[in-house]
């Protein structure tokens, strides 16, 4: 059986011919040479030219695939020739391209040209879609396929035509058309057809023409690059002449990070849009909600062993809507921050400092210097810790007079800050839901003392009050930013208990309760004036949460306002996610006094949010979300759709309706088709689903149902 390489061996019912010139075989012919086998009704072989002709029912089998044809004319040496009325299947890396061609041309090892061909990557006999083209060139050396004069037919209906398209043969990144998203909604019909251009291994671009029926043609362009010392991207959307608003609309967004030396880096990022309504008109729910202040900044950062030095310039574009005015933040032009830390014999010395010039079009401008040196000591034992800390917080302002910038006023504030953090760890054996657990009990006390100093003469450049949560309970200052420092003579007491799974150490459940007690009533308000507290304790905070089991997660928190004897805020979320493609989540959220809309108007917030993805029949999945404001009896976001996964293609139809401001809503119905292996880059509606439905999985990544 072991013939020398290149030897042709032939078996058949009848054999004739001249030795070394020509060979004729017929009847159940089987010819083998190296890794190739030809089976046919008849076969002729011309020895000099190494030419093999075979006919009627020919089957050529080789390592990477199989070709069946009516006639085969093949030069064994060059691996060139042609097969007529051929059907083929080529497989590499678990990906199989199948189809048939009027003529299949062999163009050397690993290269084929298919004429009048159709092909897909589905299972055998699955013709649910195919690529039909005048010619398809397959280069398995470079793993690239190129189709010319091509169209994609889905269930026999042509859905896409292109004079030229290339596609990957191995699942890698490759230039090509991505699948279109068709939607209809507030602005009429919209079609976007992204084209992905893989310029080089470390550069790519996506060009997205988007037709919007009531507005016109928009062009999106995204470029990305990845270099040894730098990476970044630039994104723009341009609609030169919006028919609806009769103006030019655009978005610019960019990001660049440069590594200058091992500890030195620089970067810039920012976004800018043509007008206030841009994201409401062209964005999705997320971009409409999240893009009120668009940041533009450039920075230089040095991170030595001892700390960090950052120089930064930052400005925001603030988008207003009709229902309220958003206060425009100060620009920091520039800000220099220096943080240093040194440890010696249990001591740790820290310096937090920054120098910032704050600029604003309508508010008091000025420069602020902050320096906060501190010294702390830590005693750490397995059963507990004690961490005393002393520091001095120094702030100096140089303020420009709002009327004429020549007059300058300066102001200073120096505050000593003393704190003591302490905690104990208790443990015991326990059980939870029938599993063996290690239960901890961790009491913690945190004392802070800061004298009361009236700060009403100081401006407020960047300061707001922190949200009330556990991280904040253990900070010295309840204000975020350096313009206000609270007066404090207070103790925070908290008790945490964790259930740790003895099998793997996973935290299954965490319960924590905490409150701050004021030893003195002195206080500072956000406007800087000194005031007296009416109550002896802060709000009471309780949280419960954890991965109760592999599929069940609970998160809840509760905040009780002592001063008003009322519940300030609470939320509870339960998520059940037993397998990919199966998830249900319910969340309830209450807030007694919360901002509504983009302005400063406040009201009670009471919402329920139910979302899920679930298989409803073999191959079918339902997706839905209902985010409903019980307070306003109004849906904030509704989403419903179905997804179908055929194995070789998948499709989703999703309808969505959401609020963009106090009295406007937007709606859209998306239709999206994905053909297996044909486009390799994900698309946007998937991201919308991921964000709307906690635990959502793309259906082509789930197995079975």
């Amino acid at each position: 059986d072991s013939l020398p390489a290149g030897t042709l061996s032939v078996e058949s019912d009848t054999l004739s011919g001249q030795m070394d010139v020509e060979l004729k075989a017929s009847g159940q012919v089987k010819a083998t040479r190296d890794d190739q086998t030809v089976e046919a009704d008849w076969l002729e072989y011309f020895v000099q030219r190494q030419q093999l002709r075979a006919g009627e029912r020919v089957r050529l089998t080789q390592a990477d695939g199989q070709i069946e044809a009516e006639q085969l004319d093949y030069l064994l040496g060059e691996r060139s020739g042609s097969a007529s009325n051929a059907s083929f299947s080529f497989g590499r890396d678990g990906k199989t391209l199948r189809g048939n061609a009027g003529k299949l041309e062999f163009q050397g090892k690993d290269n084929y040209r298919l004429r009048s061909a159709r092909a897909n990557t589905c299972d055998p006999n699955d013709d649910s879609w195919y690529l039909k083209a005048s010619t398809i060139d397959l280069d398995y050396g470079r793993n690239v396929g190129v189709a010319r004069n091509a169209r994609v037919e889905f269930q026999g209906v042509p859905i896409l035509y292109t004079p030229w398209i290339d596609f990957p043969l191995d699942g890698g990144r490759k230039s090509g058309l991505l699948f279109p998203t068709i939607s209809t909604g507030s602005d009429g019909l919209q079609v976007s057809l992204p084209y992905y251009w893989n310029i080089a291994p470390n550069y790519d671009a996506t060009i997205t023409p988007r037709y919007i029926e009531q507005r016109g043609m928009m062009l999106g362009l995204e470029g990305r690059y990845l270099l040894p010392d730098a990476q970044g991207q630039l994104y723009t959307e341009q609609l030169p002449n919006d028919k609806k608003s009769e103006q030019s609309r655009f978005l610019w967004k960019g990001e660049h990070v440069q590594q200058l030396a091992p500890a030195l880096s620089a970067g810039a990022n920012g976004a800018y849009v043509s007008d206030d309504d841009y994201f409401d008109d062209f964005g999705d729910r997320v971009s409409s909600a999240a893009n009120v202040n668009l940041k533009r900044e450039a920075w230089l950062s040095y991170r030595p062993e001892w700390g960090s030095v950052t120089l930064k310039a930052q400005r925001y574009q603030t988008l207003q809507d009709e229902n309220g005015t958003v206060e425009e933040p100060y620009a920091r032009l520039p800000q220099l921050s220096v943080n240093a830390r040194q440890q010696f014999a249990g001591f740790s010395s820290n310096l937090e400092s920054e120098l910032t010039r704050f600029s604003h079009s309508s508010k008091q401008e000025g420069t602020r210097l902050v320096a906060y040196p501190s010294l702390s000591y830590a005693i750490e034992r397995p059963w507990g810790f004690l961490r005393p800390k002393v520091g001095v917080h120094f702030t100096r302002y140089e303020l420009a007079n709002s009327d004429s910038s020549q007059t300058v006023r300066s102001d200073e504030r120096t505050l000593p800050i003393v704190s003591l953090d302490s905690g104990l760890y208790f443990e015991r054996d326990s059980t939870l839901f029938g599993r063996d657990m290690n239960q901890t009990l961790e009491p913690r006390l945190f004392y802070v003392k800061i004298p009361k100093v009236d700060q009403s003469s100081l401006p407020n450049f960047d300061t707001s009050e922190n949200d009330f949560n556990f991280a904040q309970l253990f900070t010295e200052n309840r204000f975020s930013g350096h313009d206000r420092i609270n007066a404090a003579n207070q103790v925070t007491a908290a008790l945490t208990s964790r259930y740790l799974d003895k099998e793997n150490g996973l935290e299954r459940l965490r319960i924590a309760i905490g409150q701050r007690f004021y030893l003195s009533r002195d206080d500072i308000s956000l406007d800087g004036s000194s005031s007296e507290r009416s109550e002896a304790g802060s709000d009471l905070l309780v949280t419960v949460g954890g991965d109760l089991s592999h599929s069940l997660r609970l998160d809840g928190s509760y905040q009780y306002n002592q001063a008003l004897s009322k519940t300030e805020r609470y939320n509870a979320q339960l998520r059940y996610n037993p397998a990919p493609g199966k998830t249900v989540s319910v969340r309830y959220r209450y807030g007694r006094d919360e901002l509504i809309g983009s302005g400063s108007e406040r009201d009670t917030l009471r919402q329920i949010d139910v979302a899920g993805q679930w298989p409803i029949a073999p191959r079918w999945y339902a997706v839905a979300r209902q985010n409903y404001s019980l307070r306003d009896k109004k849906a904030l976001e509704q989403l419903a759709g179905v997804e179908y996964n055929d194995g070789c293609w998948s499709m989703r139809v999703v309808g969505q309706r959401y609020v963009t401001d106090l009295d406007k809503t937007k709606n859209a119905v998306f239709l999206q088709l994905e053909l297996k292996d044909f486009s390799s880059v994900g698309s946007n509606p998937l991201n919308a689903l991921r964000l709307a439905i906690p635990g959502y999985s793309p259906i082509n990544e789930t197995t079975g149902n």
Partner: protein, 156 residues
Amino acid sequence: CGFHLRGLSAPLTPLPFASIAIQQAGSLAEPLQSALQRDGRVQLQSRAADAEVVLTINSTANAKDILTINRGGKVNEYLLTYRVEASVQRKGDELPLPLTVVVRRELSYSDSAVLGKEREEALLLEDMRRDAVQQLIRRLAYLPVLQSKPDASIKP
């Protein structure tokens, strides 16, 4: 009620290994090292070859997703997620054991206090990093017992 001070009445259960090295930890390196030193039960090695166990941080990722919108369609709360993918490789084990830690925090938000919220987010991220480190270190104490392999040398 059965609670006892950790490691005071009875010595801590020894960890299933005596020395450890940390790889690719980036910004987690310092808190991981000091947490291990505090624990005191294992020796910290700077070279992976010298350690019985190597803890590798494969990736860390921050996500900031909208959790609640108000009736004006604006962000009321963000959900911050910090995810650490690590793996533990013991000498004598064929494959590293993956460890994933996910920490979440809610950040209430207001567009009129962007600069303050920026700092508050940094405060929460720092808190989440500490929490993640604590959970990672704790998971090390629960590594399954090493499969005994007669020809696998545990100590060089």
